[in-house]
């Protein structure tokens, strides 16, 4: 089955692409997809512990099973907004 993968921010730059159609085996999970992506774009591998995932625009666990046609977004740590709690935080 095929899923549409979206890359954002640092992951977009590391992968060198914003979107990619990926073929995965039936029953593949988000974690399996990440394995495929790391093989294809080794530069993203260091983000393994910090990346989050959204399937069809909802945050999901890594063991979430994918379905044909899913839109899977790779979400680096978010940093919108502004104005930190502490001096070391962003803005």
């Amino acid at each position: 089955m095929k899923v549409q993968v979206l890359f954002f921010a640092s992951l977009r730059e590391l992968a060198g692409t914003h979107a990619s159609q990926i073929v995965v085996e039936d029953g593949a999970t988000v974690a399996d997809l990440w394995g495929v992506l790391c093989a294809r774009h080794p530069a993203v591998e260091p983000m393994s512990t910090s990346v989050s995932f959204a399937v069809n625009q909802e945050y999901t666990d890594r063991d979430h099973p994918l379905a044909d046609g899913d839109e899977v977004a790779l979400i680096p740590p978010v940093s919108g907004g502004c104005c930190a709690e502490a001096d070391t935080d962003a803005c």
Binding site: S52, Q57, Y59, V78, S79, G81
Partner: protein, 149 residues
């Protein structure tokens, strides 16, 4: 009103969006880009969003806020693309009959936005650029089910 836009944000527009004949109190929050961070002089700030999901997550923040407090209305707008230093990157407005609800909902909304809404900030400074958040080994947004690790 929940919006992501490339153009300057307008405080009056958000206040108007939450105005209500039964609301005696409106609290707003304006987040402005600053020219320094962590000792660096920042020349430009750039925001990127996953717009459809960002709007959906903002809506969820609004729903949670309305469940927790006796709000009339809440509005959230975030600017993306290049945001000149000193201009607003985010504005939140909340209205309620009584002031505590408006303050607490507005404060909650900016805290939560920074945790879960898929928007990223890149700082351009003398000698480089960096996506904020990605340089530290930050984890799954708080308050969500974490991925299995």
């Amino acid at each position: 009103m929940f919006d992501i836009r490339k153009t300057p944000l307008d405080l009056d527009e958000l206040v108007t969006a939450v105005s209500d004949p039964e609301a005696g109190a409106i609290a707003t929050f304006i987040g402005t880009t600053r020219n320094h961070n962590d000792g660096r002089i920042v020349s430009t700030l750039e925001y990127e969003a996953y717009p459809e999901m960002a709007i959906a997550e903002m809506r969820k923040i609004g729903d949670i806020a309305r469940e927790r407090w006796s709000l009339k209305k809440i509005a959230i707008a975030h600017r993306i693309g290049l945001v000149p230093i000193g201009e607003a990157s985010v504005i939140i407005a909340a209205s309620s009959a009584h002031r505590v609800a408006a303050f607490e909902a507005c404060h909650f909304a900016i805290d939560r936005l920074k945790e879960v809404v898929p928007i990223w900030k890149k700082e351009h400074f003398d000698g480089g650029e960096v996506w904020i958040g990605s340089q530290k080994g930050a984890a799954f947004p708080a308050g969500q089910d974490g991925p299995s690790r």
